[in-house]
């Protein structure tokens, strides 16, 4: 079965962070949609004087192309998050960490192999 084209779901987790899941092959447009969803969450939290913490599930991420990766870098740069933890396969970890390096947000963006590790890092440093 093929991947769905660029499906992104964003929800508020009651534990106080935003969860986003990327499914299937991504395009610049789909990544931009995901970015807009995060920016809306960021605004809501900013209004409540809260930090934006993001947990991103990339276990079902499909293919990416240059345009979608450029859109990813722009998203990492523009969304005012405190920390973003992602989890997925080693190759997707390498991909998002490289994008975070290009965006200059290596220290507050981290990829892990599983959700537990990612959550531990995301919430462990919360003041």
């Amino acid at each position: 079965m093929g991947h769905a084209k660029g499906d992104i779901r964003t929800v508020f987790n009651p534990a106080g962070f935003v969860e986003q899941k990327y499914v299937g092959d991504q395009t610049a447009a789909s990544v931009l949609r995901g970015r807009k969803q995060l920016e809306r969450c960021a605004k809501k939290l900013l209004d409540e004087h809260k930090d934006l913490l993001i947990l991103i599930d990339i276990t079902e991420l499909g293919k990416t192309d240059t345009e979608s990766r450029i859109a990813g870098v722009r998203g990492i740069k523009s969304v005012p998050y405190e920390r973003a933890a992602m989890y997925g396969s080693l190759s997707t970890q390498v991909l998002v960490n490289t994008l975070a390096l290009v965006a200059g947000k290596k220290d507050n963006t981290r990829a892990f192999s599983d959700r537990t590790e990612a959550l531990k890092w995301l919430l462990g440093r919360r003041s």
Partner: protein, 221 residues
């Protein structure tokens, strides 16, 4: 002299360093503080099993960059030993400087992403070697990997690293005795020749693997 390729530009300012065969460049458990560009020679990547045996995971050759996956996955430490199989020349870039160079440079970022993707394909090839069940298939799959990584571009490809039966056994997870017997069988079929330097007849190897239904990945073909 660094050959111009997409990642070489990162290492342009770093003068070459030379290390002799047998020198360990990175120890298992080290943080990935430096990134190496291999301009000459070969480096093997291995770990040591509980039995004390060495299990060779991968071989890096000219133009390769390591330990990039350890660094880019933010694993914190390198999981394997990196040892010179021959005399080598490398350019060493502190990972902090890599971070500065790549910041806001999507072209370099893309080069890194593409390079690590290609590297993943080569790792899959190694997994193929280790996942097949019988000794003959393991050795045939390994020969394809070696031709790709350390072989000359000729029908009779010369493997440019010293490979003993023990080294090949370590790369396949076989005993030296089984490996020697299988290599002897391939010599008798004219697929492998030479001892100090192993030569692989690639068309004959491809013919045999097709006949036996052995799946292999050969980017040179």
């Amino acid at each position: 002299m660094i050959e111009e390729n997409s990642l070489a530009i990162l290492f342009k300012d770093m003068g070459p360093k030379r290390y002799p065969k047998g020198q360990i460049l990175i120890y298992e458990g080290d943080p990935p503080e430096n990134i190496y560009y291999l301009s000459q020679g070969y480096v093997k990547v291995y770990h040591i099993l509980d039995s004390g045996a060495e299990r060779v995971i991968f071989i890096y050759g000219h133009g390769d960059v390591f330990p990039l996956t350890s660094y880019l996955s933010q694993a914190g430490v390198v999981r394997y030993f990196y040892e010179c199989m021959t005399d080598v020349e490398v350019n060493v870039l502190p990972s902090g400087r890599l971070e500065k160079k790549i910041k806001d440079d999507m072209t370099l970022g893309e080069s890194l992403i593409r390079y690590t993707y290609d590297l993943n394909q080569q790792f899959f090839q190694r997994i193929d070697v280790l996942s097949v069940n019988d000794a003959r298939s393991k050795i045939i799959s390994l020969l394809f990997f070696l031709v790709n990584k350390v072989g000359t571009s000729a029908e009779k490809s010369e493997l440019c690293v010293p490979l003993t039966s023990q080294t090949i056994a370590n790369m396949c997870g076989l005993t030296r005795e089984t490996t020697s017997a299988q290599l002897q069988h391939l010599r008798e079929q004219g697929i492998v020749s030479g001892y100090k330097t192993i030569i692989v007849d690639v068309p004959k190897l491809e013919k045999l693997s097709t006949k036996l239904g052995i799946r292999h990945f050969n980017p040179k073909s």
